[in-house]
């Protein structure tokens, strides 16, 4: 009797586990580990689990620079995950060329991705020879300046509406013992800031000539020199920052030690965590208030090739889920980024996000540096700007010469 019931139980459990096996486990790797980011990922997992499959979370701590080598070595080493994050751009190009990524054209065609993804520049880096290899899922932009309103009240000035007004306020800020511009010590921060200056002060054409056409002569020309001179000013204003991480620098703005920071839209999360309200406690200026243009970098998901056809099927389901309207809204609200489809409603977005959406709608967008330059070139340019930023003995002219030399050899 006992044995029989045991056998029955066993049989039942076998059928159960067979049933469960149809819901395919898919491991997804990413580097979203901060509070807001983890909450955003949970939304994706929830949406994917609802399709009857199972999202196995493979978060890698330490940021993209740490995570990417791990992901790449897993894919090239024959242990591919179900799906993985990369920044929208050229980071995974060679993996695609080497045939290590699953082609998801089937889903893309069925869903009409080329019609719903806005701006279209986003999916250009996913399509190779007419085939789709990735899904962009959000838009992050660099071109923002974040300012503490209370600081400007203290010096008795209105909050600047553009870069020039800010420049005019700098002497007063310095007199009041406030650091005008907070810039963390890590190389990518000064490099990113320089990119923002290019777009905001130089305009789209300048940026495109340098970063898309890779016109070395132009990069060595007088218009570019203006940008380097502006950066030379900015490095003076930031020299007392003396922190490393970007969020520490953001914190200096939040606490009023510094007046402003030029940083991507992810800085907004820090203000939100500190309980600050956009428009009241802090102000954001897209494109430094001069050229209201944002770059459309962000994150994409890639699907490494699997041997198991069940997994490949699950990958297609995941690809479809990621671009679903509901998923897009839930994910991007938590992440603080903009959705990749223009036809969703973000009613609960805050002041700064709304500004971003407005700019997207107008189509004032640029591709991200990651999309136009190889990681190698980006690294070399970053070295030049980083050195220029911290070594005051390097003149704008010298830095420009080195910069142009790298653009000349860029790939």
């Amino acid at each position: 009797m006992n044995i029989r019931s045991l056998a029955a139980a066993l049989a039942a459990s076998v059928t159960l586990s067979v049933g469960a096996a149809q819901a395919t486990d898919l491991e997804v790797t990413h580097w979203w580990t901060s509070g807001g980011e983890a909450a955003a990922v949970a939304e994706l997992a929830k949406a994917f689990d609802a399709t009857g499959n199972h999202w196995v979370d493979g978060a890698i701590a330490g940021g993209g620079d740490v995570a990417r080598p791990i992901m790449i070595s897993r894919i090239t080493g024959g242990d591919p995950m179900g799906a993985t994050q990369f920044n929208t751009g050229r980071q995974a190009d060679e993996l695609v060329e080497a045939g290590l990524m699953q082609d998801v054209t089937e889903v893309a065609k069925a869903e009409g991705w080329d019609k719903i993804i806005n701006p279209p520049s986003l999916y250009k880096s996913c399509v190779k020879d007419g085939k789709w290899y990735c899904v962009p899922i959000n838009i992050h932009s660099w071109q923002w300046m974040w300012m503490n309103n209370a600081v400007f009240e203290k010096i008795g000035k209105p909050v600047p509406k553009n870069w020039d007004e800010f420049v005019a306020d700098v002497p007063e800020l310095q007199k009041a013992g406030i650091i005008p511009l907070a810039v963390g010590g890590q190389a990518w921060q000064s490099n990113g800031l320089f990119g923002v200056l290019q777009v905001a002060l130089g305009g789209v054409d300048l940026w495109k000539k340098v970063n898309v056409d890779k016109d070395a002569k132009f990069a060595a020309g007088p218009e570019m020199l203006k940008i380097f001179k502006a950066a030379a000013q900015a490095r003076e204003w930031s020299k007392d920052t003396k922190v490393q991480d970007w969020n520490q620098a953001t914190n200096m703005v939040i606490t009023g030690k510094a007046a402003a920071q030029i940083m991507g839209d992810w800085a907004q999360g820090e203000f939100a965590v500190a309980g600050k309200v956009a428009g009241k406690d802090y102000t954001c200026l897209p494109g430094l208030g001069v050229n209201e243009i944002i770059s459309t970098g962000g994150d994409s998901f890639y699907f490494p090739k699997q041997k198991d056809p069940e997994k490949t099927k699950a990958q297609m389901v995941l690809a479809k889920t990621l671009l679903d309207k509901k998923t897009q809204v839930a994910f991007n609200l938590k992440k603080g980024s903009l959705p990749v489809r223009g036809d969703v409603d973000l009613a609960s977005a805050n002041d700064c996000m709304k500004k971003g959406l407005e700019i997207l709608k107008k189509g004032n967008v640029l591709p991200d540096g990651n999309q136009t330059l190889s990681p190698d070139t980006t690294g070399q340019l970053q070295d030049v700007i980083d050195k220029f930023w911290h070594d005051f003995s390097i003149t704008p002219e010298e830095a420009q010469k080195q910069y142009a030399a790298i653009i000349a050899k860029a790939d």
Binding site: D65, R68, P69, I72, T76, Q91, D93, E94, L95, A98, G185, Q186, A187, K242, Q244, S374, P375, D376, T378, G379, Q380, D383, D386, K387, F388, W389, H390, D391, Q402
Partner: protein
């Protein structure tokens, strides 16, 4: 001929179990170390990006390497760090060991204190010294709060002296071990030698410099190898303490290799840099080994 064959066989099968036991290690040495090294050198002549590809470009990677300011700074930093850390580790380590050898009280306690930093990883060391040298938290802040308000000490934020800030942390971590090795060496010296020196009326410092130090040669060789390998591979200390900053002023070759291979996705360039590191080690080690081993044979 007929006799020679079995004898050769004998020597081949002599100690057969020991030889079998050595096979895995020999295999590792040949395939992993030597094979990996050759593979790296070969691919340093290609234009491999994210994935290794056999697309040869001659010396292009090396030309680019030696015209990259960051690499030149890295090499210069390694030279400064290397020479100073070698000298100071040996001198401080030896002096501490001598002081410890004066039959002082609480020797165990002191030894533990000096050796303790060595138990910490470079990451922890780097972070601790990042805080100590931070002008708003560490040494500068303390001295200023004592009343010396114009005191400035922020090596990690000054591109000219940042490498010395790293050196301080490196020495703090490493000299304890050198001291212990030296102390063991000193303890290995026969008491008779000291007595003989005293009978001859040789002053203590002269005994140390002309008799004890030459006798401690094996200990010095060991410490040199330890310090030398530590210098070449210094990476984690930099990453934890300065991140290569400010403005790339504290970059080192090992970090260049890693960054180029994984962040910039340019394997060829990273391989070229690591090959140059290998070459520099060979340039130092081969003449020394030649001198060392040929000398021994003659003796």
């Amino acid at each position: 001929m007929e006799r020679a064959a079995p004898r050769r066989r004998n020597s081949l099968f002599k100690n057969i179990s020991a030889k079998i036991a050595a096979i895995p290690m020999a295999f590792t040495a040949l395939v992993v170390f030597l094979g990996g090294t050759i593979w790296t050198v070969v691919y340093s002549f290609t234009n491999s990006k994210l994935l290794p590809r056999l697309n040869f470009v001659g010396f292009d990677q090396y030309t680019r390497l030696w015209s990259t300011p960051r690499w030149l700074v890295s090499v210069e930093n390694l030279a400064i760090y290397g020479v100073l850390s070698l000298i100071f580790s040996l001198v401080i380590g030896f002096i501490l060991a001598v002081a410890m050898d004066q039959k002082i009280r609480f020797e165990n306690t002191f030894r533990t204190i000096f050796l303790y930093p060595f138990a910490l990883s470079f990451i922890v060391t780097g972070l601790v010294w990042q805080w100590l040298l931070n002008p708003d938290l560490g040494v500068q802040h303390i001295v200023r709060s004592l009343g010396y308000t114009s005191f400035t000490f922020d090596p990690l934020y000054n591109a000219d002296i940042v490498i010395y800030g790293v050196l301080i942390a490196g020495l703090w971590q490493g000299t304890g071990l050198i001291m212990v090795l030296m102390l063991a060496g000193l303890r290995g010296i026969d008491e008779e030698i000291w007595r003989a020196a005293r009978v001859d009326g040789i002053p203590t410092w002269k005994t140390y410099v002309f008799i004890i130090i030459p006798m401690m040669r094996p200990v010095f060789v060991t410490t040199l190898v330890l310090i030398g390998s530590g210098i070449i591979k210094v990476y984690d200390l930099i990453v934890a303490q300065t991140g290569g900053g400010p403005g790339g002023a504290s970059e080192v070759p090992a970090k260049y290799v890693y960054d180029l291979m994984f962040y910039s996705q340019n394997l060829g360039q990273g391989f070229a840099a690591s090959t140059m590191m290998l070459v520099s080690v060979i340039v130092i080690v081969v003449p020394w080994a030649y001198f060392e081993f040929s000398g021994r044979k003659a003796r």
